[in-house]
């Protein structure tokens, strides 16, 4: 019986662990969370491929656009078949019965509104966002709140109204008294969660009551993302039934309720699958003749270091934003295994002059072999039993491509499956 150790419990690591367990039910799978705070920065919307090089506007179908990607892109390495299997695996995990249900997924990208009135192409979106697609052509109504500056409803509505072939209306109303002192959207979300325990469900009702007089005939109403964290489905449905309209959210500010919900849902799935998980800091590792033997980790809740040995290891610590890659004055490093990194070493060459340009730092990542093993500059596997998944992979600007979610799902699934079959 083999032991699979996944380092990093973001989307890619969690999917890798779940896929490994699915394909090798007898294996021991350990999932080590190295940056649990990272979820607060994620909106929960997942792009597979939104833009390809040289295209200003969102592509319609991610899978049809694969051919335009470079041969070293993770999608090309995986291949279309495995890609489809990976997305199907994700869809199955987050189906309608799940506590966090994602759209079952069409081949086409969906367009969602952003808090600055722009449009973003995504491929997998939670139920909280599904009524808000701008590619759905029904009129919509955007709600903002006097006390919250995260979303200017008038601006969003005017931008959408002038660019979309249907009407978008708006209103800005006061928050109910119980919420009016709060500035963090997640705090509002948690308050709405607990309000449902109260049989009166007063806060949700008050929230809807403030909006109701403003509505015309719009069948769908958009709020800044704040409608519950744990009980989001119930909160949303409570507000929707008071408004007699479908309700959707627009991701607005960190901490994102969408990311917090995704974290909870993934943790539950991992636990139900019988995968051991822990919050750790990885200190060092032992290797013998090109094979990693064990990791020395510091568990968050204890003082001492523990050694975790395994047969195969998955590096899923994320990119620069999650700490999976670290910038130093002399170059970018992958801090745990010191894998070789793609990208310029001089910090002066790391960025574009425009704030939102194509930054080289957004393409930083480890080089890999065809089996997703971190590779040396000469192309050979650094350690025979180490594989990398998700945003720690380099060579493409996943933010600009809007492909972070898809790369995490597809590589996590594919590598998880491969190692389960191989070890």
């Amino acid at each position: 019986m083999s032991h699979i150790v996944v380092v990093g419990a973001g989307l890619s690591g969690s999917i890798a662990a779940l896929s490994a367990k699915e394909h090798a039910p007898d294996a021991d799978v350990t999932l080590l969370s190295t940056a649990p705070e990272r979820y607060r920065y994620e909106s929960g919307l997942l792009g597979v491929l939104g833009y390809t090089n040289g295209k200003d506007h969102p592509i319609e179908s991610p899978l049809e656009s694969f051919a335009t990607l470079s041969e070293t892109h993770p999608y090309r390495r995986i291949g279309e078949g495995a890609m489809r299997d990976g997305l199907a695996f994700f869809d199955n995990l987050f189906d309608a019965e799940s506590s966090l249900s994602y759209s079952s997924g069409t081949e086409q990208n969906a367009l969602v509104p952003t808090t600055v009135g722009n449009v973003r192409p995504v491929s997998r979106y939670p139920e909280a966002n599904s009524a808000g697609l701008v590619s759905d052509q029904r009129p919509m109504h955007i709600v903002g709140f006097n006390e919250l500056t995260h979303l200017d409803a008038e601006f969003v509505a005017e931008c959408l109204d002038s660019t979309m072939p249907y009407d978008v209306d708006w209103s800005t109303v006061p928050l109910p008294d119980q919420l009016s002192e709060m500035t963090a959207l997640a705090e509002i979300g948690r308050t709405l969660d607990t309000s449902l325990d109260d049989s009166q469900q007063q806060v949700c009702k008050d929230l809807a009551a403030a909006v109701r007089p403003e509505l015309d005939i719009e069948p769908r109403v958009g709020f800044p993302a704040m409608l519950g964290v744990e009980n989001h489905a119930a909160v949303r449905s409570e507000v929707a039934s008071s408004l007699h309209a479908e309700v959707f959210e627009i991701p607005a500010a960190e901490p994102h309720v969408g990311g917090l919900r995704l974290k909870r849902a993934l943790r539950t799935l991992v636990e139900e699958a019988g995968i051991e998980q822990a919050n750790v800091t990885v200190r060092e590792f032992d290797s013998e003749s090109g094979t990693i033997q064990s990791l020395s980790v510091h568990k968050e809740d204890t003082e001492e270091s523990t050694r975790i040995s395994g047969d195969v290891f998955v590096l899923a610590t994320g990119g620069v934003a999650a700490g999976g890659l670290v910038g130093t004055p002399t170059g970018v490093r992958e801090p745990i295994f010191d894998c070789s990194i793609t990208g310029p070493s001089k910090p002066s060459a790391w960025s574009d002059s425009q704030a939102l340009g194509d930054h080289p730092f957004a393409s930083f990542g480890v080089d890999v072999t065809a089996e997703f093993q971190p590779a040396s500059p000469s192309g050979e596997a650094t350690y025979e039993n180490l594989h990398a998944v998700g945003t720690v992979l380099g060579g493409h600007n996943a933010v600009q491509e809007e492909s972070r979610g898809g790369v995490a799902i597809a590589t996590g699934y594919s590598v998880g499956k491969d190692i389960a079959e191989r070890y």
Binding site: S43, T114, S135, Q137, P165, R212, F361
Partner: protein, 582 residues
């Protein structure tokens, strides 16, 4: 005197605004042109220390600094955050006793702190320090001071033009002639990604824009006109453009080579000390930790600049280590930003407080322009006095300088608080900046509204660790709906690029991590950098709408029917309209 000369001051730092103020108070016609925002150069990037003379190497300089320090306390007390600072000295350079003796001689007030007094005054100091001196080196808000100078100048009739670049200085027969000014504020259409594509209203034909609410006024939202130029005919030009004086002189065809020095400061995410604190160093090197708009700032590493176009922050490791030795908490604080400004100097100047005036009539056969080199926050008023004396003499004007006795106006008195429906809504959680703070900053008539840096220098928003990452897009909404959507986008784009220019100089460790987090949020979640496009639907029922639109560019029109329209539109329950309470 029958004729009033018109003086053009170039540069909106503390020295330029100080000069404009002095001339204006003396009754001359003054125009100040600043190509960006007031304080955008070295003024906004220095530590903001108002020296008392305690640390000066010569007694003569000490007397000058002491005098100016006292004057500024008198006229600009509201710009001073801390009246005093702590001075730690190693015996290597000078002992505490020797320093005390020097302060006695210079009649600079001080007191010596020992043992428990030190802990009570500044608990962050290392236990190894058993004696230190408290001196009247003050910490000043240089943004407020510069704005106050400009406002004072304005009250005496000066015209303050920000976002205004001097693009040409004509010289006729060895005398300066017409000057061309170009007004180019952020938010112009040319700042947007696709300047030539007007946004067509994709709404239902025949109706007005669907979002217009009943009762809403139909006033056209404001736009920013691009690249307006204007000619002026000044009698004299003062070039006080700080690090840019050579470039400004070049506009008049004057080739002038000066030394440039960069000054680097480190900004922390926390406040390691409460009271400004310096480590005594002989020579001109500065090691001071102070607090700016809520976060700690340490400076200054001064370094010669050879290439003005590629100025990067200097290595601050040694400076940080030195400060860490006396304030251990500095070692634990996150370094979030390196700020770097450029000043011009001259080999004849012994220190940064001294200045030199280059009269181009004498030097370059170009009568009518003087360049100011050097000078500091502490000596700016004095320099302005000397400049104005010299120029007035050229015009045969003998009017006394009155800047030392006329108080600088405070912002709160000068700007009326705007009417706000929701004054306490927070825009920036990091700096506790509310909508009313922003509206108050924008209500200032010195402000170019679409320049968000104006809000930044007045409120501190976007400084320190956050760099506007979570609030810049919320901040710009304060300009809406007064300005239209396109102006809002262009103004935001320009602000983000300004913030980024400062940030990208040193990108490693936590700075890189934050930069990537911000990039993900702004590019992915907000999808800010998208061109203007119009979405249409070519599904059959909407055909007539799309054909009725003017269609000159098919690439800018996207067919939304080609995208996912959501889960099973058919299976949706239709809401029951009658039940909705009105």
């Amino acid at each position: 005197m029958g004729y009033t000369p018109h003086i053009l001051v170039i540069g909106g730092g503390v020295i330029g605004t100080g000069i404009a103020r002095d001339f204006a108070i003396r009754g001359l016609d003054v125009t100040l042109a600043e190509r960006g925002t007031l304080t955008a150069g070295i003024t906004g990037r220095c530590l903001g220390v108002l020296y008392s003379g305690a640390r000066a190497q010569s007694d003569q300089l000490a007397q000058r600094l002491k005098h100016e320090n006292e004057i500024l306390h008198g006229i600009a007390g509201h710009c001073i955050n801390h009246d005093e600072s702590l001075l730690v000295t190693d015996n290597e350079d000078i002992s505490v006793d020797e320093l005390c003796q020097r302060l006695e001689q210079r009649s600079i007030s001080y007191d010596v702190l020992e043992g428990e007094e030190i802990d009570a005054t500044e608990p962050a100091l290392s236990d190894d320090i058993d004696r230190l001196i408290r001196v009247p080196d003050a910490s000043v808000n240089q943004f407020e001071l510069t704005i106050a100078n400009a406002r004072s100048a304005q009250r005496y009739g000066a015209e303050i033009l920000t976002q205004t670049e001097v693009t040409d200085i004509a010289v006729e027969d060895g005398t300066i002639d017409t000057v061309t000014l170009e007004y180019s504020p952020p938010g112009r259409a040319s700042d947007a990604l696709t300047p030539d594509e007007p946004v067509a209203d994709g709404g239902v034909p025949g109706s007005t824009s669907g979002g217009t609410m009943p009762g809403e006024t139909n006033d056209e939202p404001k736009q920013v006109e691009s690249g307006e130029t204007e000619e002026r005919d000044p009698d004299y030009i003062i070039n006080a453009a700080g690090g840019q004086v050579e470039a400004v002189a070049a506009v008049a065809g004057i080739n002038m080579t000066l030394e440039s020095r960069s000054e680097t400061t480190v900004c922390f995410d926390s406040k390691p000390v409460e009271t400004p604190l310096s480590r005594y160093r002989s020579g001109n090197q500065e090691a001071t930790m102070t607090t700016k708009q809520g976060t700690g700032v340490l400076g200054t590493v001064s370094k010669e600049v050879t290439d003005q176009t590629a100025v990067t922050p200097a290595n601050t490791k040694q400076l940080v280590d030195e400060m860490k030795a006396i304030v251990p908490a500095v070692g634990n604080a996150q370094q979030v930003q390196f700020s770097c400004g450029v000043r011009s100097t001259h080999p004849s100047l012994a220190n940064k407080h001294e200045y030199a005036l280059i009269d181009h009539g004498d030097r370059h056969n170009c009568w009518g322009m003087t360049t100011v080199v050097g000078g500091s926050l502490t000596t700016h008023r004095y320099i302005a006095e000397r400049v104005a004396n010299e120029v007035c003499a050229k015009f045969g004007i003998s009017r006394e300088c009155k800047t030392e006795s006329i108080s600088l106006p405070a912002t709160e008195e000068a700007v009326e608080a705007p009417d706000m429906s929701a004054p306490e809504s927070v825009i920036c959680e990091t700096h506790s900046v509310t909508r009313s703070d922003v509206q108050h900053a924008l209500a200032d008539d010195l402000v170019t509204e679409t320049d968000l840096n104006e809000v930044r220098i007045r409120t501190g928003v976007g400084r320190g660790g956050c760099k506007g990452s979570c609030c810049a897009h919320r901040l710009v909404m304060e300009l809406y709906p007064e300005y239209d959507e396109k102006t809002i986008r262009a103004s935001l784009q320009s602000f983000l690029d300004d913030l980024w220019t400062e940030q990208r100089g040193t990108l490693h460790g936590n700075q890189l991590k934050r930069a990537m987090q911000t990039y993900i949020f702004q590019k992915e979640c907000l999808n800010l950098a998208t061109p203007d496009v119009t979405y249409v639907s070519t599904s059959s029922e909407d055909e007539e709408h799309t054909t009725s639109e003017p269609s000159d560019s098919d690439e800018q029109r996207i067919n939304i029917a080609a995208y996912d329209s959501g889960p099973s539109s058919t299976a949706r329950e239709r809401p029951v309209w009658g039940e909705r309470q009105r």
